[in-house]
Amino acid sequence: MGKTISEKIFSEKADNDVKAGEIVIARVDFVFGTDTNTSASIEHFEKLGRDKVFDNSKIAFTFDHLSPSPTSSAANIHNEIKKFVGKYNLKLFADGEGICHQLIPESGYIVPGDLVVGTDSHTVTHGALNAFCTGFGSSDTAIVMALGKSWFQVPETIRVNVNGKLNNMTESKDIILYLISKVGTDGAIYKTFEFGGDGIFDLEIEERMTISNMSVEAGAKAGIMEGDNKLIDWIKKRSSRKFELIFPDNNARYLDIININVDELEPLIALPHSPGNVDKVKNVKGIKVDQVMIGYCTNGRMVDFRRAARILKGKHIHPNVRLIIAPTSRNIYKQMIKEGLAEIFIDSGAIITSPGCGACAGYHSGVLGDGEVALSTTNRNFIGRMGNNKAKIYLSSTVTAAASAITGVITDPRDLKEE
């Protein structure tokens, strides 16, 4: 019997021929921690009583959720992390540099075939690089920092074949919203999504990350993608490490196979209060929105901002709407300025925030008011997610969000006349 991509990576990292269902001890290639969950990891690490980390070149921390600090406690958390980073000579992406799910891949820390863990459930984002990447809690992360390995159950795989071509009003966000609605929010618990097909290869790497990012909203342990020349070029620009793409065997065993034809896909939207509560935008248009958010770790990359700018250029947002633009990294922010997109956004009435998680999880820079409605390109719309349990959150693509910011109501982007 052949192997899935996940089985191949775990076989390599466990130095053993393993298959789905087996429990293995596997070497981890890279481990990272975000500011919100790292204090606990540091405390746990100290409790382990080890005087060194397994490899200081394979560990990084990011100040992203709480940056710039919204409270004095958050600033204290940052200072604790800085002490630890100094003590063990580790990599820190400090205030304003961006979100881990862009910084780690764009800095060349991950190559195809890697096994990566991070203290954030959206670590699955990095699966777009043909690597097995998954979220860990603080204790598990502390142990990986000490040992460079952990125990894993090799997951079963759901194969997702994506075929066809998106149009200029649909995005990779619509593909993943469709998939979550099809399998449900628990449809992939303990399992891997393995993506392939010409519909994936047609996408830019940044667009692929959006799909992998939200795989966890269906419960998936990883959202791993096949690679291609586009990926090889992308990685080579950022990393000097040697690597080979990992493909599944032709006779790999899958728990299920899902085929998605994106030719027929229409703009989709997740309604309150679940990413699995998906409908077509055209069925819910007209709902008044108070805040529109474009960016963050799901949709905050150049490909997203170019699309949003196409819609917003020369227009002004509705007077009752706050539009918040959050680039995923400082490099993206700079590129946005260089290409003139920042000016388009500012002229349209948008607020550009520093790269980071901000309002996505209700920390700061866009916390919602009672009864307010947000339309966001982020990944979660749980009750209270944006800091107020009396608010409602809808999730969509960037073009749907940008179109709605102009009209002040949820708008099918196909209804907007482009200049």
Binding site: K47, S121, D186
Partner: protein, 165 residues
């Protein structure tokens, strides 16, 4: 390990934002300060209803969403002895065992708020004494049983120096 307690019933997809809102994590560096805020957005006042040893019963996908270990830690600190659900999100599943909070996977459809539950983890069954129902529990993998029986993953690691499978 045996447990007996009164059930607090929740539905499907109880995510870790519901268990403890992200915004709370920015408000203190002392985790125990957050115990009173558990479930505040979906069950206001929940903390005050808990008696030590009580059991949470939920539907599918309990603990989905964020990877925050605060979630199982705070439930345990509030006095919850076991969480019973028809399924768990995988990060929560690992986190709960790692911090020494037992979790039980079984069909919870016929369990209601206030039922008296008795759980025997070694023998692998759960009894709903209020409804006279006995159900088998899906067994944990051996490594998780070991971690749980030794009191959590940090103690396990001290005892073994590495994982043993």
């Amino acid at each position: 390990m045996k447990f007996e307690g009164i059930s607090h019933k929740f539905g499907d997809d109880i995510n870790t934002d519901y268990i403890i809102a992200a915004k709370r994590k920015a408000q203190t560096t002392n985790l125990s300060d957050l115990v009173p805020y558990i479930m505040e957005d979906v069950s206001p006042g929940f903390y005050n209803k808990i008696k030590k040893g009580d059991i949470i019963v939920a539907g599918k996908n309990f603990g989905c969403g964020s990877s925050r270990e605060h979630a199982p830690y705070l439930l345990k600190a509030a006095g919850i002895s076991v969480i019973v659900a028809s399924s768990f999100a995988r990060i929560f599943y690992r986190n709960a065992i790692n911090i020494g909070l037992p979790i039980v996977e079984c069909d919870t459809e016929n369990f209601d708020e206030g039922d008296l539950l008795s759980i025997d983890l070694e023998k692998g069954y759960i009894t709903n004494k209020s409804k006279d129902i006995i159900l088998k529990i899906n067994p944990l993998p051996k490594i998780m049983r070991d971690i749980l029986s030794e009191g959590g993953v940090l103690i396990y690691l001290k005892n073994h120096s590495t994982f043993e499978i």
